[in-house]
């Protein structure tokens, strides 16, 4: 695969991004049935975490990142401990699922440990849950239409 120089990608994105990819990283710890949420966690993710019933006791916001990008271009989100999340959004023909999103979780040595391809809608958030012993990292990922 030939990669375009990053300045070219930046120029293209600066012109007209096709989508904005959002990744909200949260750390989860403890066990409990009445979880405590960091008030900085956006409401939409808090609601998803409540409904997911993951049985952690405390959720703390680590970072919120939004990256405008073009279709088929990969954007990378840093995760704690030098891990990272790479996300690519592409157009999909089906009206019910206008997006194909591919994400990859990379470890500290940039080795791919998970690659998932999925079809979804604009604004639809999914959760990536990475247990770390009794704690976990949870990443809410959503692809939005850019504000015009």
């Amino acid at each position: 695969m030939v990669l375009a120089p990053c300045w070219l990608h930046a120029l293209a994105v600066a012109g007209a991004p096709d989508v904005v990819i959002e990744a909200i990283v949260v750390s989860a710890s403890g066990r409990g049935t009445d979880p405590q949420f960091d008030p900085k966690i956006p409401a939409k993710l808090r609601k998803q975490l409540r409904r997911a019933h993951l049985a952690y006791n405390r959720y703390v916001l680590v970072s919120t990142q939004r990256r405008p990008t073009t279709f088929n271009a990969q954007v990378s989100f840093p995760l704690p401990k030098s891990e990272s999340l790479a996300v690519t959004a592409a157009k999909h023909a089906a009206a019910a699922y206008p997006l194909r999103v591919i994400y990859q979780v990379l470890d500290a040595k940039r080795r791919r440990i998970q690659k998932v391809a999925m079809l979804c809608r604009y604004g639809q958030m999914f959760l990536i849950h990475i247990p770390k012993g009794p704690n976990a990292l949870i990443i809410g990922v959503a692809t939005h239409k850019p504000a015009r």
Partner: protein, 173 residues
Amino acid sequence: MSKCPSGERLGAYLDGELADPAAQAVADHLEACPTCAAELDALRELKQLTSDLAVPEVTDDEWVATWQAIAARVTPAAPARHTAGLWDTVRLWRLALVPAAAAALFALAIGVWGMYNVPPQAQAHEVVVESVETAAGFTSMYYHSTDADVTIITLVPADTQEAAQTDESTDPL
């Protein structure tokens, strides 16, 4: 009278998850609609029942062991090597025929039932996972609840127990 809110919306109202204007709209509707008021009472009763349940405290060791057990169950086992003769093959096919026919009939019945009973918008709610690739030493699990529109993809290290023992700091940060 406004349109009856969905069960999911009533649940969100009960959990205090609706913003003020939406919550007020549901409250106004509940005053005028005894059916929805009764449904909210039932939800409230259910919530009370579940909150009264004594939930045993789970230790960190038990939690780690649970993940390990789940990972072990979802990891496909290596196919067993078996050399079967022709007669064994025929006999196996005959043995498999009855359950296969039953399964086909069951699938057909479910399909026909599904065609007439799935709400049209429900099909478009799910995130469709097309493919999952996981590196050796890890297991992926996928959970989706159409009701709550929640999709979770879990990435579990297969040696969670070992990792917890070797890495004293399991804080993800």
